[in-house]
Amino acid sequence: METDNFEKQLADMTKPDVKGLKHEDMLATAIINARDKSVVSWWWISVPVFIILMLIMKSTFMPGTTLISAMHELESSQKYLSLIFFLISPIIMIIINAMTVRKIHFLSGSPKSINFLETIWFNVLVIALSVLILIIYSL
């Protein structure tokens, strides 16, 4: 069979068609009423944010203390906890948010305009803060 003939055969053959779907209206109602269940809850983020705010407060109000020294003080007393808060959590947040931005870009119809930034500003902010924590921790 030549490619041209095969192409014609593909184009000309009859294909199954969908004439009507009885479940359509009920599905539409169910989808419109469906609530979004986000995996990343605010409660999950609040713990590391609380620790970082505490360290910032300490470095601001305690004389002779900087954010870096406060972080390293916590590191020496709580080695594994500080690893989770200042290394593992920021890396996870960067990965989750980068994947979310990619997903939003696709599901927004891949917009090329500045409008897209309005949608993803929060994800970009979380990525920037996570990078900042990683930089401070590595100093």
């Binding site: 069979m1 490619t3 095969f6 192409e7 593909l10 184009a11 053959m13 009859t14 294909k15 199954p16 068609d17 969908v18 004439k19 009507g20 779907l21 009885k22 479940h23 359509e24 209206d25 009920m26 599905l27 539409a28 109602t29 169910a30 989808i31 419109i32 009423n33 469906a34 979004d36 939003i104 696709f106 599901l107 927004s108 119809g109 891949s110 917009p111 090329k112 305009s113 409008n115 897209f116 949608t119």
Partner: protein
Amino acid sequence: MDESDLLNRIRKNPENFSEIFKLYYKQIFGYIIRRTGNFDDTADIAADTFLKAFRNIHNFRYTGISVKVWLYRIATNEINLYFRHKQKHNSIFEHINIEDNSVFKNHIAEDRKEIEAELLRHNQFLSILNELKTLPVKYQEVIALRYFEDKNNKEIVEILNINEGTLKSLLSRGLEKLRQKCNHF
């Protein structure tokens, strides 16, 4: 109808999303059934496509691609995920609340009966689809859009977000591979 008007109305009142359903559900369902050849998987993928579209319609910006192309794009992505992780596929109907589940199941059963009968009336199509499904997904999507959905180059390029040169080369290589597989017909 002006799509940007419809999008604005949906942003003001999400219930207007039902208009998107009325306009495109049948068409997208048809596209998916002609890719998978299986009613239950199609119902799942179509529902997933529209759920994703509903949850992201507020992010959709009217920048040249139409809602129809956008839905085709989401559906194509969902179909690709289905082919990649078929064993892990969970039914979406377990996660959304259907008001009257028994009525819904009856409707699904009736639709399944009708669609499966329609599939059986197209033996030649099913044989070719079975061979097509053995090819890599990149060939499946261009061949299905061109020959099963009757889309032109411009539409396929928009749906798949690829350039025309890539499309032409995928089409020609894919057709050749499919032709070799279908030689015994």
